[in-house]
């Protein structure tokens, strides 16, 4: 098992290295002359030359690539053209907000999606199955930014039972930063009022973000359960007198859920993408709003850094998922994938 984990981690490294190279190539090739792009429209040739020398853009391309790699590996993403602060620091500030939102959504999607998929499979081709199927296709077809606005319209504006935007009621301030996750930090600080406020704020964004993930999880659980129900051991267990519900909930689900777990890893990418839209609508101060702000202010260092960080988080999550899968189903590790 340890060997499998090690191999899985080593396999993720080339992809990350490739990603760093890709962002380098993108940042050098696409703007035409990056120095001119950095200097802005009104710059004189002398100013452009000064910027070229300042950023080392007059060095050989291979040397630039090595410098870029060294900077990225040491966590040096340069200075934001928008705020003038180090990009790495700003990302470090904002990453927990996105992670908190994403994990809340993933938790919601898993807790609802797996049971939904299970009951749909047990009611194969029945009414419950059809409702879950419609939900799982519809959930993937809905535009997150639109759903977010609709939820705001109903629950925050019309009914006024949930907050419109932000992570916490502003007058409460913020708990001392330990993990950066407000739900955790507020509890660590012993402030139930802050915790409650943070809970209320996370509901609408998390629900919006969870829906497509919920759809996918329900769908894969359903197909996994249906497939497992065909297996011989199920027939045997039923013949031996196991109750239908106990059999399904314990023995079938554990076998069926391995496919779902892989999906949860892949979903993480979709969740991060979805977070861009959801954060924009709910003013959630995470990486998504940071990326949008970087685009609108042409802050390409910030945007490339976000791309890299998201790629890295994505890689880590996928390794974690593979390991989790190997723990649930040890055969995976033995197959030597």
């Amino acid at each position: 098992m340890a060997l499998y984990i090690l191999r899985r981690v080593l396999l993720a490294l080339p992809a990350l290295l490739g990603l760093i190279l890709l962002t380098f190539v993108l940042s050098r090739v696409i703007p035409g002359d990056p120095a001119a792009a950095l200097a802005g429209d009104a710059a004189t040739p002398a100013q452009i030359a000064a910027i070229r020398a300042q950023y080392g853009l007059d060095r050989p391309i291979l040397e630039q690539a090595v410098v870029h790699l060294r900077q990225v590996v040491t966590g040096d993403f340069g200075t934001s053209a928008f705020s003038g602060r180090p990009v790495a620091e700003e990302i470090w500030q904002r990453l927990p907000a996105t992670l908190e939102l994403t994990f809340a959504a993933l938790l919601l999607a898993t807790l609802l999606g797996i049971p939904l998929g299970l009951v749909a499979a047990l009611d194969h081709n029945g009414p419950v199955d059809h409702v879950v199927r419609l939900l799982s296709v519809g959930g993937l077809a809905i535009a997150g930014f639109w759903l977010a606005i609709m939820l705001q319209l109903v629950f925050a504006m019309d009914l006024d039972i949930l907050p419109l935007r932000g992570r916490i009621d502003v007058p409460l301030g913020l708990p001392p930063r330990v993990t950066g996750l407000l739900l955790v930090d507020s509890l660590l600080a012993g402030r139930p009022d802050m915790f409650w406020s943070a809970c209320r704020h996370v509901v609408l964004p998390a629900v919006t973000l969870a829906l497509p993930a919920l759809a996918t999880i329900a769908r894969f659980t359903r197909s996994g359960v249906l497939e497992t129900l065909q297996k011989d051991f199920v027939l045997y267990a039923r013949a031996a007198g196991y109750g239908r519900v106990r059999l399904a909930a314990i023995y079938v689900l554990r076998n069926a859920v391995t496919v779902t777990v892989t999906q949860i890893g892949l979903l993480f990418g979709a969740l991060i993408s979805g977070a861009v839209a959801v954060e924009a609508v709910f003013d959630w101060p995470g990486l998504g709003t940071y990326a949008v702000q970087a685009i609108l202010s042409a802050d390409y260092k910030a945007l490339l850094a976000v791309t890299l960080v998201v790629g890295a988080v994505y890689a880590v999550v996928n390794v974690a998922v593979d390991v989790a899968q190997a723990i649930i189903d040890p055969r995976v590790a033995e197959d030597g994938r």
């Binding site: 990350l16 296709v137 606005i149 996918t216 861009v276 949008v292």
Partner: protein, 281 residues
């Protein structure tokens, strides 16, 4: 034909097909179907933000334009963008997949590693990065979406080509001296076509969704284009009063994407009956 018959037997997939066909008809005849075809660009400030009525079934927007007309006119843009993006992604991804799948060696290795790198970042983030580096706009957004979607086709075709490379009929063709290009284009590609078609259908829905999101974020279509995402974004300042303003463009996105997804689901069943609408994409 068999695929079509298979889809028509499945009511849910037929519903998807009807949604897509309806959108195509609306897109083709948009200028004649829209009650106020000039409202794509003209504004009428005296009738701004009117609630839905017989005169304006979906209400009017912040510039007094008929929302129904703009939703109808926007269908054409949405479909054109999606077709162009998916077409370009196929044009890049399919040759890459064929080439990498046919031969083992440094070229195949390189191609597939590049594909993996593209797949290692969430597509939207990469599209945003690309879009921004190339100056925002609808053209840029389309290039960015195509550049981030081709790896999905490359993967699909790669898997099919690898599977078929060892097939008996391919050996036989090589044995009688068929050129590899002939084998790939006339024999391997048709076998991969169903998988490509399913991918493309799902990709249409996905592209419409992502293009709308880019429009919403202000890096896609620019005003006064009747882009659905852009319309939802323009509506935000007029809430909660003008509830109809974001609602109908969003519903249009939902229905069209739903159509493509249901159709793609049905096609997947038709392409591979063993899967029986249970596996994911």
């Amino acid at each position: 034909m068999t695929a079509l018959r298979h889809i028509l037997r499945d009511p849910v997939a037929t519903f998807g097909l009807l949604l897509v066909l309806a959108a195509v008809v609306v897109a083709l005849f948009a200028p004649w179907l829209a009650p106020y075809p000039d409202d794509a660009f003209e504004s009428h400030l005296l009738q701004r933000l009117r609630a839905p009525s017989a005169e304006f079934p979906f209400g009017t927007d912040n510039l007094g334009r008929d929302i129904l007309s703009r939703v109808i006119l926007g269908t054409r843009d949405a479909l054109t963008v999606a077709l162009a993006v998916v077409g370009a992604a196929i044009a890049i991804g399919v040759p890459v997949g064929l080439l990498a799948g046919w031969r083992e060696g440094w070229l195949a290795e390189t191609l597939m590693r590049v594909t993996d790198v593209f797949l290692a970042v969430p597509q939207l983030i990469l599209a945003l990065a690309l879009g921004q580096l190339m100056a925002p706009g609808i053209g840029t957004a389309m290039v960015a979406l195509a550049l981030t979607y081709w790896p999905f086709f490359a993967r699909t075709v790669f898997a099919e080509t690898r599977r078929l490379r060892g097939a008996l009929f391919v050996d036989a063709l090589a044995g009688i001296g068929a050129h590899p290009a002939r084998i790939l284009l006339l024999h391997v590609l048709p076998n991969a076509a169903p998988a490509i078609l399913v991918r493309a259908t799902i990709g249409m829905g996905f592209t419409i969704l992502t293009a709308a999101l880019l429009g919403f974020l202000g890096v896609g279509a620019a005003p006064p284009s009747p882009d659905w995402g852009l319309m939802v974004s323009e509506a935000r300042q007029h809430l909660p009063e003008a509830w109809w303003f974001p609602t109908f463009p969003g519903l249009a996105i939902l229905l069209l994407v739903l159509g493509f997804n249901l159709l793609g689901d049905g096609l997947r069943d038709a392409a591979d009956p063993r899967l029986r609408r249970s596996r994911g994409h």
